[in-house]
């Protein structure tokens, strides 16, 4: 996939317009949705408030399954925001792929490995931070790196990196592959005029439905794994 993207440099760092635009659009959608749904709150909820509370209950459920304790309570907001952002970003690429002159400006932010790795870094970083905060550095080191046997230290260190890599790459792979297939179907559609347009339309429909499903599943998996890592590092194994 050698899609061209518009790049620019600022203060010695390379920025990528497609990522910036996609991320910003996804975040704006999340923010506007959440704020719109949380207007005119009532003790007896109805309509959009019910939807928002259902989402919150769902993400709270993810947290409570892994860490039903004070650490979990602190994580609920982060998990909710993370879930909303990943979900919206995943679905964005299913609906839009804005391509001007061969340069992509808007797609799934999560189809970019750097974005997903950054999210993974965020999550893993929080997990380690909470581990140290809750157990103290000594216990944290023992729990995370010296269990179940001290001689497994090297494997445990590698495991931290692999869990970080898999967390980011799983999300990236799923969404990127989904978009890739969508663009392949698009190329098929335009290759031989109306003859391929009709079957490609049906294919596109089916694959978009599947991508919606994948996007939801991946958002769920990412947040669940985040909580798994957090609870792994904040609970002393007996």
């Amino acid at each position: 996939m050698d899609e061209k993207t518009a790049m620019f440099s600022f203060a010695g760092l390379t920025f990528d317009w497609s990522v910036i635009i996609s991320t910003t659009v996804a975040m704006v959608i999340v923010f506007v949705l959440a704020v719109w749904m949380s207007r005119r709150l009532e003790l007896k909820p109805k309509g959009k408030q019910n939807v928002l509370e259902w989402i919150i209950d769902f993400t709270n459920g993810i947290v409570d399954q892994q860490a039903p304790n004070s650490t979990g309570r602190g994580m609920k907001f982060y998990i909710f925001s993370l879930f909303m952002f990943i979900f919206v970003a995943n679905q964005l690429g299913v609906a839009f792929n804005v391509n001007v002159g061969g340069v992509t400006y808007l797609r799934s932010a999560t189809a970019n490995p750097l974005v997903t790795m950054t999210l993974a870094m965020f999550s893993i970083g929080i997990a380690h931070y909470l581990g140290v905060q809750k157990l103290g550095f000594k216990n944290y080191f023992k729990t995370v790196y010296l269990k179940p046997m001290p001689f497994l230290l090297p494997i445990n260190i590698i495991e931290q990196f692999t869990s970080f890599l898999t967390l980011g790459l799983r999300l990236f792979g799923n969404i990127f592959a989904g978009e890739m297939v969508l663009s392949l179907i698009w190329q098929l559609a335009v290759s031989h005029g109306i003859a391929t347009m009709v079957p490609a339309f049906a294919l596109m429909l089916a694959w978009q439905a599947f991508s919606l499903f994948i996007g939801a599943i991946q958002a769920f998996v990412f947040t669940t794994l985040t909580m798994v890592y957090v609870s792994e590092k904040t609970e002393v194994e007996e």
């Binding site: 990528d16 749904m37 949380s38 509370e53 925001s81 750097l114």
Partner: protein, 171 residues
């Protein structure tokens, strides 16, 4: 291939700026969401949970109170019934006593009246007898005087007087 994928089109340079941008914007999103959406909603949800818990507590309280009242009422009803029974029993006893009293009083007074009547009758009988005796004596005497006035002669009475005097001498 892998490096090409990994760098995602950044052939010259890894787009590290993207990471920085995402980190900053993610933090901004978190802050905004917390202030405008999460805060109010989770507060509302907490309020609701509190209200439900409070309502359940007060319902339990009310139920308890109602039960207490019910048992107290039952108790009062029971004691009222017991009191009523006692009162009725007392009244019956008192009535029985009074009845016996009245009957015995009536008996006594009847007895007394009977005795008085008997005594009076006896008295009257005696008086009547006495009256009759006097009358008879008087009548006899009167008759005797009448007879005596007519035919009394000393010679006729001589033997009787003698016999009487002889009788006195004998005694």
């Amino acid at each position: 291939m892998f490096s090409n994928l990994f760098l995602a089109g950044a052939s010259e340079q890894l787009a590290l700026g993207n990471m920085l941008f995402l980190l900053v914007s993610m933090i901004v999103l978190l802050l905004l969401l917390k202030k405008f959406a999460w805060g109010p909603v989770s507060k509302m949800m907490q309020d609701r949970a509190d209200k439900i818990a409070h309502d359940l507590d007060s319902a339990e309280d009310a139920r308890q109170k109602a039960q207490d009242l019910e048992s107290k009422r039952q108790e009062q009803l029971q004691s009222a019934r017991t009191d009523a029974n006692a009162i009725i029993a007392d009244a019956q006893t008192a009535a029985g006593l009074q009845r016996d009293q009245i009957v015995s009083d009536a008996n006594d007074s009847a007895q007394a009246m009977k005795a008085t009547a008997t005594a009076q009758i006896e008295q009257e009988r005696v008086e009547a007898m006495a009256g009759v005796k006097n009358d008879v004596a008087e009548l006899s005497i009167t008759i005797a005087q009448k007879i005596i006035q007519k035919e009394l002669k000393l010679e006729d009475q001589k033997a009787l007087i003698d016999a009487y005097v002889a009788g006195l001498g004998d005694k």
